[in-house]
Symmetry: C2
Subunit: 137 residues, 2 copies
DNA sequence: CTTACTTCCGTACTTAAGTACGGAGTCAAG
DNA sequence: CTTGACTCCGTACTTAAGTACGGAAGTAAG
């Protein structure tokens, strides 16, 4: 048995399982246009492959980073390679946004790890720099 | 006129304006316990200061990074300095989570900036590494 | 060929995170 | 001391992102 058996012929259920989401979520993404509805090779049941799996995983990851489905769909539009100039401008705007988030997240990282360090050292009460972490700028 | 006039005696409306949110949002956070309801120095109207402003800004920043209000409230609980051991464990779990997000966000950053570069160089169609960026691991 | 499990599709329900609304009380200016 | 803006509070509405449901039709195993 292969490690990715029949990955190019998954049913919607298999896709959902592979991506760790609900079947209804897949269908919801299709309705929203975030995921294409592939054709039905034999009969009337659709089959999904690695591309679709990648997309679903991408969506979930981007969401975890605070992107809304609308934003994800903009990100995905950049991916198709057409209207390059437009995509480039769009990508640059997103990049600014992403870099701000990175900076925020890095400050949280620093604050949390300092909290862990200190808490390790001083047993007792201390005031943590968590809120201050996101004050800068 | 000072740059932060009366920052220790803001009304709810001033606080909301300063934080860039709706008055109702402030009240909503109070109901959720994310924000304390300060006492009313003179009469029956509450006054807010820099601490509350910091909190609201923290909440909004954390949300932008994909933390839910429940998660934010856990983060805020770490801040009070009591039950240190517990907080430390909690902080360490969050830290793992935050570092995963950082890695994802860094991959998106790399993919976007590569997209901008390439789009600059090759005029025409190309396939961007955006989805692939979040496949790793 | 039947039986059990899926898929498909539309519609309805749920949860999180606000937003809006309406009436009563408060406060500062004119 | 009234007028206009604001606060307080409770309740109701909205939006995004799913989740659940129910009936018809497809499909794989026995």
């Amino acid at each position: 048995m292969n490690s990715t058996p029949e990955i190019e012929a998954m049913t919607i259920g298999a896709l959902a399982r592979a991506a760790g989401v609900n079947v209804e979520t897949i269908r919801f993404y299709q309705r929203k246009g975030l995921l294409p509805e592939p054709d039905r090779p034999q009969g009337s049941i659709r089959r999904y492959g690695a591309d679709e799996l990648g997309r679903v995983r991408f969506i979930k990851s981007a969401q975890r980073l605070g992107f809304s489905l609308d934003e994800v769909s903009e990100l995905l539009k950049l991916e198709d390679g057409s209207h390059c100039a437009e995509a480039r401008a769009q990508a640059q705007r997103k990049l600014v946004d992403v870099r701000e988030r990175l900076a925020d997240l890095q400050r949280i990282e620093a604050a949390l790890s300092e909290l862990v360090q200190r808490c390790n050292a001083i047993r007792g009460r201390m005031r943590c720099p968590l809120i201050a972490a996101l004050q800068a700028e």
